[in-house]
Subunit: 379 residues, 4 copies
C-alpha cells in the first residue's frame, strides 16, 4: 500500500534497487499530449548518479522505456507505463549489510514491518526508487507546459551544511543557471564553497546534508483543495516522502514564529489590475490555495546515512557490533541529485491539483483568467 | 474535493463556520468498540474557545451529537456520523469583511477558487472547521487505546514567539501536566512567561505564533507505508493541513542540515532484548516506518492573521484601501488551542496506519510482538 | 468501509434505520450551482413510504436538512452535508426479530460480519438507507441539468412478477407519465394489472418482485473510464448495491446470448450529420463508453423478504424455529418505490463520470460538441 | 482514469494490444507469500488464444515477467510489477479498420472520448487487456490459497447460444473437469454440442455468445462492505467491466422476479452446528455480505462483434459504407477463454474484500472461526 500518489493525476510506483526493473504507471494523463522517451530521459539524466565526483560513481544508464499509453508521440489518454531496468545491480556488494542493520537507514524498520529482507537491505527505502518519481514528474511537466505555459518551476541547493546562499533574489532565477552548476546552486561563488566542502567530507568518509529551496512562478490561482488536501499539505507530504528529508517549510516557515502578526501579514495590493501581495511570507499559498504569488518552499535533507567510519549497530540476531562499511559507490551529499527529484514531486503535485481544480471551471475559463497570477512577484 | 482523510480509517469532514452544522463521517472504525458522546466531548472542550482570557471569547458550546454508527455505547462497524451545530454564528459580525480581502487569510484564494464568497469570508479556511478533526481524533484515540494500550500521545507548546521551553526532558511527560496549564506548556515557569507575552500582545491588538511539539511514545513498530504514504509524510500533511501552519519537522529537522552524518546517525543497540537506538535524531521513523522509539515532531504556527491594527488591502472591486478590524472575538495566539488539534490529527494518522498495517500481520501476532517497541526511549 | 461512492463526485453515506439520523456528505460538487432543500425534498417524497395502499404505511416525513455547503441558495464548492432525521423509529416493533435471523434478510450476515446486532436487525441493510442515495441523486441531477440540459433520465416498472409491459416504445417516454401512476408504470392498462396483483399478494401476506427499466436519453458521448470503471460496470455496481437486486442487464442483456453476431451488431449510420447506430442492442454503451444512443438497462428486484406467513429459521443460539411475523408496515412489492432510487443511483453515477471525463476536454469544447449525441434514438 | 481496481488489494492495469507491453502493478499483497512466475504463467496459458480450433489462431506466448516485489520466491510486501510483452503485434493487420468504425466494438466511442485512435482501433477495449487481469488474479489466488485454504472457486460455460447445460449439480464440480474440456463445460455431452455449434458458426464467419456461471465454495462468512461496496455489487462490476458482457445475475437472478416471496426466501437451518440455508436463491450473499453458502453468479457474454460478413458502418469522415472484414485471427465465441478471466476477476474481488474485512477481526480469530462456512452447500 502507499505506492500511489494523487487523485486525478495518479502515479503508481514499483520496483526495488535489485529487482528486474523500477517503474511507474500514470493514470489520468490527458490524451493528445506530445510525449516521447527523450522528454523523460533528459530529467532522468539529471537525477542519475555518476555525473561528477561529487556524487556516487555508480554507472546507471537509467534508460526509460515507454511500455504503453503513447502512440506516434502522442498520449492516448490510457495509462502510461514507464520502466527503467536495473542494469547495474550488484547484489554481492550488499551482502555484508545483510547481516546487520545500517544505522539511520530503513533496514531495520522494513524488516520489522514486512518480516522479510530485500537484497539491498532497505527494500523501497533506497533513493534508487526516485527514478520512478522523476519519470512521472516529466509527464506531469508536459501537462503543465501545455495548459499553463507561463509556469516556471525550479529548485536549487540553498545550503550544504553551513555553506549557505544568502540574500539571493530569485526574481530572475532560471533553471539553466541552476543546472550548469554541478552542485545545483545558482551562485558560482557559493557553489564553489559547497563543492569544496563536499569533497572534503567525501575524503573523510563522512556525509553532509542541506536545504533545497523550491520555487513555482506563475502558478495558476485557485489550486489546492481544502481542507485536508491543501496545496501546501500535499507539497509537504510530497517532500517528506523523499529519502533523508527531515523538514518542510512554506514561505516564512519556522521563522514566522519569531514575528508579530502585524509584521507577518502580506498586504494585498493591485498589480497591473490584478490582485497581488506586497510581501510573500505566505509563500504563495493562503488557506491551502495558490494565490498567484511565487510558491516558495524549503526542504531539509539530513546528512546521508551511509558513511565510511566505524559505527555501532546490532545484527539480525540481536548482537551488538562495531562495523565499518567498505568504501563503495555512495553520495557524501544527496543535495545535488535531490534537486530534480524535488522538482519532479512538485510537478506531480501541481498536475494533480491542476486537474482536480477543473470542476470549478466548468462554466468557462473567463472567471479563471481574471484570476491569473500577477506579474510582479515577491519573495 | 479534499475533505476526506485516510485509507482504512476514513474521515470525511463538512461544514462552514456559518452553516447549520459542522461534522464528520468516519468510515472504517472497527465494530464493538466502546464509544459515547462524552468520549468525544471532553476533547472538544479542550479545543473550545473561551476557556481563558488567552483565547477568543466566543461562547461556542460545541456539543457533539452522534448521528449514527453507535448503539448502546458500542460501535456497529458502520459509518459514525458526528455533528456539532453552529449555535453562536453571528454573520453580521462578518459583514464588514465581505467588502475586502483580509490579509493572509483564505478570503481571496477561496473567492478566486470557487467564484463565490461564504458569509464568514474564508469558507472552510476557518479554524472552526477543526471541531470535526477533534471529534474524529477522539474516535481514533478509542481504537488505539483498545488495541495499543501502551501508546501515549501528547503535544505541548514548546515556544511562543521567542519564549521557548529549553532543555526539556520529555521522558516523564504526561498529558495531565500539559493540560493543567492554560497555555499548554508543561513547565510552569515558561508557561507563565508565555501567558505574559500573549496578554501583552492581545492588549496591543497584535498576534504571535510559536511551535507545538508532538510526541508519540510506545508506537507499534512497522507503521507507515513506503513509498508515498510514509508515516512522517502523512504526519507532515496532517499538520500542514491545519490553519496557520508554516512548517513541519521530524526529529532533528532543519537542525540536521548542520551536522555530519557521523554525528547524526542513530546507533542501534539492544534495550532489554529489543532493538532500539542510542539517540533519536530520526524522530522515531526510519524509511517512513515507525521504529519503536518516540515519534517526535514539531509544527510551526505563524502569528494569527486577525489583528486589530490598520492594514492595507484591496476590495472585491479592486480598490486599494486601509482598514482596521473592530475588536472582536479572536485569538491573539492560536497555540494553546492548537495542542488538542495537533493531537487529534496525529491520532487520525496513526489509527489509519495501524489499520493499514494489519495486512502484514495476517499470520498471527507473534512476529509483530517480537518487534514491539523498546522500553527506554530517547529524545 | 464501502460507504463512499464515486471518484470526482463523492458521496459518503451514513445512518441506520434506528439511529438519530441518516444522511450523506457530497464532496466534489461544482460551486455556484443553484440548490435548496426543496430541490432535494421533492425526490425524497417520491421515495417515501405511505404514498398509497401499495406500499408500506409507515409515516416517515423524511425532511431533508442542508447542514453545509450551500449559502443563499447556491453551492459553495465545499462538501454538502445532508441529514434526514429518523422521526418515526419504533425499535419495539423490531424486538421480536432480535431473537432470530429473518430469512433472506441481512440479519445473519451483518451479525456474522460485525459481531454486534443493530436494533433493526440488519443495520445498514434496510431500504431506509436509500434516503441518503435519493438525496445525493437530487444534487447530482442539478449538476447534469445545468451542464447537460438535454439529458433526460427516467426509470419505470417494466414488470411485476408475470405482469409485463410489452412492446413499449420509449421514444416519447416522459417522467411525468411514469410518476402519475401509483405503481410507476407508464401504461395505464398494465399499471392497473400490476396494482391488482400487488393488492392480492398483500392480502395473502406474501410479496412479489419485478423489473425496473432505466433509460438515459441524450447522454453526452464519451462518458466511462476503461478498463475497470466502464460506465456500464459502474451502473451495474450502482444497481446491484441496492437492496433486493439480483440482476442487471445492459441493452440486449441475457437475451444477447441467443443471437448470432450478425444479428446482434449495431450498424453505424449517419443521423443528421452525426454518427449513430441503426439498432441499440449495445444499450448506449460500447467499450464501456457512452455512444450517444439511449442508455438502456434493466434491474431485477426479487420479491421482498418480509412476508407474513410461517417461516423456518434459526435463533442466535442456534435453535431451529418456525415463526410468523406480526403484520406490520412493510411493502409487498418494492418496485414502485425502487423507481426513484434507481434514478438517483443513475444520476450519481453519471455525475461522477461527467466530472471525470473533463480531463479529456481541456483543450476546449469543440471536439466534444462534434460528438454530441444523435437526434434519432433506438431502443 | 479507471485503471485501478480494489481498495486493500489494489490492481493497476496498463497496456494496449499494440503497445510494447501490457501489465499490472499490485499494491497491498501481504509479504512472505510464496510466488514465482510459473504460479502466474499457468493461468495465462489457460487464457491464451490458439489453444484449439475453437479460438483465435494468434500465437501469443504471453510470457509473464515479474518486475518487482518478489525476491527468492517470496513476496516482499512491496508492489508487484508484472509485465507481458506484446510479441505478436501486427499493426498492419489492423490498417483497414483505421478507416471506419467496426460495429459494436469500442472503436467509435474510444475515438469520441479521447480524440485519438490507437493502432488497434479500440485502444484498451481489446480482450488482450485481460492478460493483466489474469496475472493479477493469479496473485490474488495465492493469498486466498494461503489464508482460506478450503475456498474453491471455479467457473464454467453453462450455455453457448441455445446449447445449455441443464439440471447440473455443481456439488462435486472440480476445476480439473472444466479445464479438460476445450470449451470449458464440465459435461462431455453438452461440451460436444457446444463445440459443434461453434465450429459451424466459425465456418459461416459468424459468432455466438453464451453464459458463464461462477461458483465460490467455502467462502469465508462476512466478506462484503455495505452499503456501496457490497460483495455482489463488486462482483457485478468486476464482470460487467469485461469485454462483451451484457448481464450479471446473483443466485436466482432475473428468475427471482417470477416467484413469490414465500417461494424465494431461503430458510435458515443448522448444518453440523453451523448456520446455513436450506435453499440458495440468495446466491451466497445476503445484504451484500457472504453467508457461507456457495456464491453463485452468471455472466452473459454477447456474440463476438468481429464477424466475417458484409456489414454497414461509417468512416471517420462520416461516409456510410458497406464492408467485410478479411478473415483473420478472431474467436467466433469468446466463452471458453472467458472462463479463466471470470475466475481471475472473482479472485481479485475476493482478495480485496478478504483484506478489507480484517478490521472486523482485530480481536482475534475466535469470533470469525465460529462463523466459518457450513459444510453442506446448496445451489
Amino acid at each position: 500500500m502507499g505506492n500511489t500518489w494523487g487523485h486525478s493525476f495518479r502515479v503508481t510506483s514499483f520496483g526495488e534497487s535489485h529487482s528486474r526493473a523500477l517503474g511507474v504507471v500514470i493514470d489520468g494523463c490527458p490524451p493528445r499530449l506530445s510525449l516521447c522517451e527523450e522528454d523523460i530521459q533528459k530529467f532522468l539524466d539529471e537525477r542519475r548518479p555518476g555525473q561528477s565526483d561529487l556524487v556516487t560513481a555508480r554507472k546507471e544508464t537509467d534508460r526509460v522505456i515507454i511500455l504503453s499509453g503513447v502512440e506516434n508521440g502522442r498520449t492516448l489518454g490510457t495509462p502510461i507505463g514507464l520502466m527503467i531496468e536495473n542494469e547495474d545491480a550488484k547484489p554481492e556488494e550488499y551482502s555484508e549489510i545483510q547481516k546487520f542493520f545500517r544505522p539511520s537507514h530503513g533496514d531495520y524498520t522494513n524488516f520489522a514491518k514486512y518480516g522479510v529482507r530485500s537484497a539491498s537491505g532497505g527494500g523501497r527505502s533506497s533513493v534508487r526508487e526516485t527514478v520512478a518519481r522523476v519519470a512521472a514528474g516529466a509527464v506531469a511537466r508536459k501537462i503543465l507546459e501545455k495548459f499553463v505555459p507561463d509556469l516556471h518551476l525550479v529548485a536549487y541547493v540553498e545550503s550544504v551544511k553551513d555553506v549557505k546562499l544568502e540574500n539571493f533574489d530569485p526574481s530572475f532565477l532560471r533553471r539553466e543557471n541552476v543546472y550548469k552548476s554541478l552542485v545545483r546552486c545558482p551562485s558560482e561563488e557559493t557553489a564553489e564553497k559547497m563543492m569544496e566542502l563536499i569533497r572534503r567530507v567525501k575524503l573523510e568518509g563522512d556525509s553532509v546534508g542541506g536545504v533545497v529551496r523550491g520555487l513555482i512562478l506563475n502558478c495558476p490561482i485557485g489550486l489546492g483543495e481544502p481542507v485536508f488536501d491543501k496545496l501546501d499539505a500535499d507539497l509537504a507530504k510530497a517532500m517528506m516522502s523523499l529519502q533523508a528529508v527531515k523538514g518542510f517549510e512554506l514561505g516564512s516557515g519556522f521563522q514566522s514564529t519569531q514575528m508579530f502578526g502585524s509584521e507577518h501579514n502580506d498586504p494585498f495590493v493591485m498589480k497591473a489590475s490584478k490582485v497581488g501581495t506586497l510581501s510573500n511570507r505566505s509563500g504563495g499559498i493562503q488557506g491551502g490555495i495558490s494565490n498567484g504569488e511565487a510558491i516558495d518552499f524549503r526542504v531539509a535533507f539530513k546528512p546521508t546515512s551511509t558513511i565510511f567510519k566505524p559505527q555501532q549497530t546490532v545484527t539480525e540476531d540481536g548482537e551488538e557490533i562495531l562495523f565499518e562499511m567498505k568504501r563503495t559507490r555512495h553520495d557524501p551529499c544527496v543535495l545535488p541529485r535531490a534537486v530534480p527529484i524535488v522538482e519532479a514531486m512538485a510537478y506531480i503535485t501541481l498536475a494533480d491539483h491542476f486537474l482536480r481544480h477543473q470542476r470549478c471551471l466548468l462554466e468557462g475559463k473567463n472567471f479563471y483568467e481574471k484570476q491569473s497570477s500577477s506579474s510582479e512577484l515577491n519573495f
